[in-house]
């Protein structure tokens, strides 16, 4: 089964955030990048050094897994310009990304795309936040603002 993967550069860039975030984990860093990528509509295939993570949503993120999966489908539908009312296309897109079984609810393709959004999301964050964040407290505040702004212009905006 495919695993979540995060670019090594992203981990380096977020190292101080992870260190200073109470109970911060690598999955948190992945989440920040993935949500940034999904909201900004930035997906870039993962090439180069990357860190293999677990293949399941860790405990803190299990309750919100549906939203992440839903966001992935919506972002891909919007990227492919498929209307929500195009039944067959919607079904096909859903099926290509979401698995009926397994640890994480994603197909191989779905995991690949989510990892691509995480990669793109890191790029997006690094472009908009220079120099890299020195503390979790500072990063979270800036991140919240960035996401709110990018949501207004990305695939989730109508």
């Amino acid at each position: 089964m495919a695993s979540f993967r995060i670019r090594e550069d992203a981990l380096t860039w977020l190292a101080d955030v992870q260190k200073t975030l109470p109970h911060g984990s690598i999955f948190d860093m992945y989440y920040f990048c993935a949500i940034a990528g999904l909201t900004a509509g930035r997906a870039e295939e993962l090439k180069g050094p990357s860190r293999e993570m677990v293949d399941y949503f860790v405990a803190d993120y299990k309750p919100v897994a549906s939203f992440i999966l839903g966001m992935l489908v919506v972002a891909e539908l919007r990227l492919a310009r498929i209307g929500f009312d195009e039944e067959t296309a919607v079904r096909e897109m859903f099926r290509s990304l979401i698995a009926g079984s397994g640890e994480n609810g994603l197909t191989e393709e779905g995991m690949k795309r989510l990892n691509a959004y995480a990669n793109g999301g890191y790029e997006f964050l690094a472009e908009n936040y220079d120099p890299r964040p020195q503390s979790a407290e500072e990063f979270l505040r800036a991140y919240a603002t960035l996401i709110e702004e990018s949501a207004a212009h990305g695939p989730f905006a109508c």
Partner: protein, 659 residues
């Protein structure tokens, strides 16, 4: 078991030749023996030799150590040190013969019933553990030990418990189990697996070595960090004392620091709270929630998930008749197959239902804050907390700067030194954190500091070796026994500490009735109840009480032999400590110099059943005048020293008379 020191003698060594007898006429040892020895008479050497003889360690000394005890300026080729014990009333002697020419030390043991003098260190088996060097340090020591028991980083209290109660043996058994398993694994490997096995075993060896190294590194880092922190604290104290005139500023600084610490806590809490809120994507922007809602609504319109899943169609394909009753043809089966691919499977439908259900479920309470509003509130809270923190940090910096500058160059230098110590602390903390880290997020090829990761790798390598050598069952049993040993250690440690705590506090109620203090816990070090420190007298009383309570566990009785027990203390403390010691032990032998007599000796002798007063000094030009007043019949002299056994002489002895 009751152990007493009957005396000792030395010849040809750095300390003057002497024969010390601590026994009364009836052969039993004096309750208390004062041994007054001016500085330079060899107190420290004597203590070291006592421990070396009792533990048999001298046999392991190298040439330099052996020659190090030779009398300076002498060309004698040999020397000897002998310590005489009474063990449950029976004599036992340990002797070290020094061969300075060849740089060797030979040990001898004499005990009745074992054929007289025997070459080597051979205590009775039941006594061995009490003569382990770690244990000896509990009853033959200098006055610093009692204080060390309170220092967290020293772990002296835990070490004392381990030594006496032999908890270290559990680890010895565990190590032996691993050795046996390794032996079995080696012997069972077939020729096909030999090369793989060797490679795995090499890897396992390397991992175990790395584990040991990291464990030691951590211990060293913790100790060094404690030292650096202590230095930083000491410098802080110096700075504070130097600038003590600035009362108002010092007070303001203390207040600001409290405010800063509080602000740090609030920022941390606010960060955690905000982070938790951000884990829900809906909270990050209402646009996300709206888009998901729209998609969900559209799915409802499309009637997705389907009422009929792909399973229905694939099942239908297998039937002989269609649902309308028509006989199934090949063409119909193909068509149904096409249809089945066009709908979601049961599992996919199920997943979609879950997603829709979760989107539906996450609606804010009516009249309550939306998730985004809640997050916005938390953002504001964090910003406010951060502002407060920055202000508090600024105040602390400014006040400190003011105090430092008023203190002049010396204070500024101390501040620079303190900064260095703090940086060292930080560096060591980073190392400790790396070693304590779970090691879950390491880069490939990154050097591993995480002990947890090393242990996981050890477990993995062990499992592979087990598999390669068909020693699965053996490994399982080995692991089981090791778990038992580990659990037993936890249980034993807890019970012993609980029992010691109660026993110590019972004793302290009596000993310190007028100056009450209580122990709260024994966690590696001694922790006082309700306070970090007591008075010096209280701390020593607690320290000595702990030691003696521990030593008496299992109905054993040990002597206390202490070098300068009250050297640095004032009169009041000396009196208090002096009063308590005789009640704590059955034999107390102490080295003192004349300036340590005051207050201490009279307090001790007041509570002792009997006492011996010895004065011992080296024969030199400087001590020649002391030969004039020796009490007739109560002294022994040789070429190198004079030993006087006389109370009056003891009380009046002063190295600085007529200078």
């Amino acid at each position: 078991m009751r152990i007493n020191i009957a005396g000792w003698s030395c010849e040809g060594l750095r300390c003057p030749d002497v024969d010390i007898d601590l026994r009364k006429a009836d052969g039993l040892p004096f309750h208390v023996a004062f041994l007054q020895m001016p500085n330079g008479t060899g107190k420290t050497t004597t203590l070291d030799l006592l421990k070396a003889a009792l533990s048999g360690e001298a046999a392991k000394w190298d040439e330099a150590m052996v020659r190090g005890v030779r009398r300076r300026g002498d060309e004698n080729e040999t020397g000897s040190f002998k310590v005489k014990l009474l063990v449950d009333g029976r004599p036992l002697t340990f002797e070290i013969d020094f061969d300075f020419e060849n740089g060797r030390a030979l040990c001898y043991t004499t005990r009745p019933g074992s054929g007289g003098v025997r070459s080597g260190w051979f205590p009775p088996p039941e006594m061995r553990r009490f003569l382990d060097i770690s244990f000896l340090n509990l009853f033959v020591f200098n006055g610093e030990l009692a204080n060390k028991l309170f220092v967290p980083e020293e772990g002296a209290a835990e070490g004392a418990i381990d030594a006496l109660c032999q908890l270290y043996l559990l680890e010895s058994v565990s190590d032996q189990l691993d050795t046996e398993w390794n032996k079995a694994a080696k012997s069972r490997a077939g020729p096909k697996t030999q090369a793989t096995l060797e490679s795995l075993q090499t890897k396992l060896g390397e991992l175990q070595a790395r584990k040991t190294k990291l464990t030691r590194s951590k211990e060293k880092a913790v100790a060094e960090q404690a030292a650096a922190q202590a230095k930083s604290d000491e410098l802080e104290e110096k700075i504070r004392e130097k600038t003590v005139g600035m009362n108002k500023d010092q007070g303001d600084l203390a207040d600001s620091r409290t405010r800063e610490a509080k602000a740090d806590g609030i920022v941390k809490e606010a960060t955690a709270s905000l982070h938790q809120a951000m884990r829900l994507p809906l909270a990050l922007s209402p646009i996300i929630g709206k888009a998901l809602d729209d998609w969900k609504d559209q799915l409802d319109d499309l009637k997705l998930p389907e009422v009929t899943s792909a399973q229905f169609f694939t099942d239908l394909q297998k039937k002989d008749e269609c649902i309308c009753g028509t006989t199934m043809t090949e063409g119909m089966r193909i068509q149904i197959g096409v249809m089945s691919k066009a709908v979601l499977s049961t599992a996919e439908n199920g997943q979609l239902n879950i997603i829709k259900g979760d989107i539906e479920k996450y609606r804010p309470e009516p009249g309550g804050l939306t998730f985004n509003e809640d997050l916005t509130q938390k953002l504001a809270d964090l910003s406010a907390a951060r502002r407060e923190q920055l202000e508090a940090q600024q105040d602390v910096r400014a006040l400190r700067r003011k105090i430092i500058e008023a203190g002049g160059d010396q204070v500024q230098e101390w501040e620079a030194q303190q900064k260095e110590s703090d940086e060292t602390c930080g560096r060591l903390q980073a190392l400790i954190d790396a070693i304590d880290d779970a090691g879950l997020n390491l880069r490939p090829g990154e050097e591993v500091y995480s002990l947890a990761k090393i242990q996981r790798d050890i477990d993995e390598a062990t499992a592979k070796i087990t598999e390669a050598t068909n020693t699965v069952e053996l490994r399982r049993k080995t692991t089981l026994i090791q778990s038992i040993l580990q659990r037993a250690e936890e249980l034993a440690r807890r019970t012993i500490k609980d029992e010691l705590l109660i026993a110590c506090n019972e004793r302290l109620k009596i000993i310190l009735a007028n100056d009450p203090i209580e122990l709260e816990a024994i966690d590696g070090h001694l922790k006082l109840a309700g306070q970090d420190r007591g008075s010096e007298a209280q701390m020593l009383s607690v320290g000595y009480t702990f030691l003696m309570t521990l030593l008496e566990r299992g109905d054993n009785r040990f002597p206390l032999l202490v070098d300068s027990p009250v050297g640095k203390m004032d009169g009041t403390v000396r009196r208090q400590v002096g009063r308590l010691i005789p009640d704590l032990c059955s034999q107390f032998v102490t080295f003192v110099i004349n300036t340590e007599r005051a207050d201490f000796v009279s307090s001790v002798e007041g509570r002792a059943t009997d006492a011996l007063y010895l004065t011992f000094f080296r024969k030199t030009d400087g001590t020649r005048r002391l030969m004039a007043n020796l009490p007739a019949g109560n002294y022994a002299e040789n070429d190198s020293g004079v030993l006087v056994s006389d109370e009056a002489y003891f009380d009046s002895f002063d190295m600085e008379d007529e200078e």
